[in-house]
């Protein structure tokens, strides 16, 4: 990705940006379901009043707003049975008002201009960070840390979710094990309307598998463009001690994973992770063949009772399982090149690596 392409991307995203507005959750009131939507084809039928103006919202938005106030589907069904739809409406508004008093929440409402419907709602901790601000910030970040843009990914909903990959102009390559040469000083910036998050991006040179390591300090995430937040996040790539610590931690995790067999339970949790990312069944079975290996145990006489998948060895080491996931995330043709699931899955794979291992590595003098 050249600098020109980066600038063009910024312009394109900004030009196609869906309109949005930040409001206090307390100012959004549920009116009910619209039955006649006149001549306009709307995407949703939920009518809300936002600061006195009636708007339509999709079911996704209505559910998300309920989730913020803790109004579950079961509660809705119960109240609907007892007092009807009016009761649900009143209770929904009561909960929204009550929770806003206890915990004032700001949200960004994202509208679809053709259908004139609210299609997304994003919680905003401090301030709204627009796409223009994000690209402006990314330019400053790269400028001060000697980075250049290398790739980008966008979410399914262009209103929120851009991941920008940046590579260093002075690459730092380290090997945490023989044959594991890895480029360690690349970064990604992840943006949505409510925040910008910085993570480190590792790329194994041998297979070009990407690995996203979240930098676990408060400065790595900003929710407002104030001086302190900006200065903090801008300086992270220059904080050698922090980066050394985080790299050492990652190396330790990797070495443990290389020396440790995965458990069936870990295979299962990876297959569930793939399911959440809507990875096809065939690919998923190749990466984490949980059912197949479970059957192997069952067919070998291990009964269902007393069988503990956490204590049963899978056929592969944790590192191989991890690499299969990052290999899929980096190289699959099932997803578009700029699909942000690639980076998200790489991040979750590292989260998996970070977990305590089910099967510990023991010194075994008898193993041949």
């Amino acid at each position: 990705m050249t600098q020109q392409e980066f600038l063009a991307l910024g312009r394109r995203i900004t030009d196609n940006q869906l309109p949005y507005k930040m409001v206090n959750r307390a100012t959004i009131k549920y009116i009910g379901r619209a039955d006649d939507l006149s001549e306009t084809e709307h995407l949703g039928r939920n009518v809300f009043s936002v600061q006195g103006t009636n708007v339509l919202a999709t079911d996704f938005v209505a559910e998300a707003l309920d989730k913020y106030t803790g109004f579950s589907k079961d509660q809705q069904a119960f109240i609907a049975k007892a007092t009807g739809e009016e009761g649900v409406r009143d209770f929904r508004n009561y909960l929204a008002a009550a929770s806003s008093i206890a915990n004032p929440t700001k949200v960004a409402l994202v509208a679809h201009p053709e259908s004139k419907t609210i299609v997304n709602v994003i919680p905003v901790e401090d301030e709204l960070i627009t796409s223009e601000s994000f690209f402006g910030f990314a330019e400053i970040f790269m400028d001060h840390n000697n980075l250049t843009p290398t790739a980008y990914e966008v979410g399914g909903n262009a209103s929120a979710g851009i991941i920008l990959h940046m590579g260093s102009n002075t690459p730092d390559i380290r090997a945490f094990a023989p044959g594991e040469e890895t480029l360690i000083n690349s970064y990604i910036l992840k943006w949505n309307l409510g925040q910008i998050q910085l993570s480190r991006y590792y790329e194994r040179l041998v297979c070009a598998n990407g690995m996203i390591e979240k930098i676990s300090i408060p400065r790595a995430k900003i929710t407002a463009l104030d001086d302190k937040s900006l200065r903090g996040i801008l300086s992270i790539p220059q904080d050698n001690n922090l980066l050394k610590r985080s790299y050492n931690r990652f190396s330790d995790m990797a070495r443990t994973a290389m020396n440790t067999r995965a458990s069936l339970s870990e295979l299962h949790s990876v297959s569930k992770m793939l399911e959440r990312f809507a990875v096809g069944e065939e690919s998923s079975k190749k990466i984490a063949p949980y059912d197949e290996e479970l059957n192997f145990y069952l067919n070998s006489g291990y009964g269902l009772h007393g069988f503990k998948p956490r204590e049963a060895l899978a056929s592969m080491k944790v590192w191989e399982l991890f690499n299969r996931v990052t290999q899929y995330a980096s190289h699959t043709t099932d997803w578009a090149e700029n699909d942000n699931r690639r980076t998200m899955l790489q991040g979750e794979a590292v989260d998996f690596l970070r977990l305590p291992r089910d099967i510990k590595t023991y010194v075994d003098v008898f193993a041949s």
Partner: protein, 289 residues
């Protein structure tokens, strides 16, 4: 009594020498902070305030030396009211370039039998015509004038400021528009000492601050809290531990300026999308359930 209408002028009728808008350069990144079109402007009054020990005198002497170096024909004067020759000798040891600056030492006379008038001396010297004059400090000088002339603090401030204004407008033998850099003391809480009139009359106020005011070893920065010629709030970090020159952190300065720009654009961009949102729902008709 003259015709009051004569007092009204139009800017197009006032003629200025274009050279008046050619600034003095220091050759450092400080030029970008001093004025949006770089350098120290002519005929202006910049006040410099800051916590004790933050380096006000050093910064000003360094600035004067750098201007002399960049513009060898320019006449600069340092009016030292707080420090005597011996105090300044220490500065010269660390910053040898300060030794060639013209200095006027103004001292209180503690002998009641001697009638001294530093205001008169200063007036006569300024009348020669200087391009840049630094006063360290305004408050001390004001106090001496008050004592010597047996006038009030307010009157002393007026007399001093009237002298400065006169020099700003080139009312001197060399007909130069003198620029004044006046160091002003601050209270223990870091607030400006001086009247509101003084604060409103100056062109700009540069503050020298410690990142952590409770720690003299913390990082130091300069920023303008009032500026008719440039940006307010942009920090320029500096370091006095290097012998010879004040070190200005150029990279950090450029980052700070970019941050300001980003913050200013962010507000505009937020309003733009909120307006689009409001327009979208302005005329929509939803049949209520």
């Amino acid at each position: 009594m003259g015709n009051v209408s004569d007092k009204i002028v139009r800017m197009r009728e006032i003629r200025f020498d274009p050279a008046l808008f050619e600034n003095y350069m220091t050759g450092t990144v400080l030029d970008e902070l001093l004025c949006s079109y770089k350098g120290l402007p002519k005929g202006v009054n910049y006040m410099v305030i800051g916590d004790p020990g933050v380096g006000k005198t050093t910064i000003i002497l360094d600035l004067l030396s750098n201007i002399r170096k960049q513009h060898p024909g320019v006449k600069v004067l340092f009016v030292s009211v707080e420090m005597n020759e011996i105090d300044l000798a220490i500065y010269v040891q660390r910053f040898p370039k300060f030794q060639d600056i013209d200095i006027l030492f103004v001292e209180s006379n503690f002998d009641d039998n001697v009638d001294s008038h530093n205001l008169q001396t200063l007036t006569e010297i300024l009348q020669q015509g200087w391009d840049v004059v630094a006063i360290d400090s305004f408050y001390e000088l004001q106090g001496i004038i008050k004592e010597e002339e047996s006038i009030t603090q307010k009157k002393a401030e007026s007399m001093l400021f009237s002298l400065i204004k006169q020099q700003n407008k080139a009312d001197n033998n060399a007909q130069v528009n003198t620029t004044f850099l006046t160091i002003q003391q601050v209270t223990k809480t870091g607030a400006f000492i001086g009247s509101n009139r003084l604060k409103h009359s100056i062109t700009a106020m540069m503050e020298l601050r410690l990142e952590n005011p409770k720690n003299i070893y913390s990082e130091r920065y300069a920023l303008f809290s009032k500026h008719r010629r440039g940006d307010v709030g942009v920090r320029l970090y500096y370091d006095l531990s290097v012998t010879g020159d004040v070190f200005y952190n150029e990279d950090r300065f450029s980052q700070d300026r970019q941050i300001r720009q980003l913050q200013s654009e962010a507000g505009k961009s937020m309003r733009k999308y909120a307006d689009k949102f409001d327009i979208l729902f302005e005329n929509i008709k939803i049949k209520k359930p």
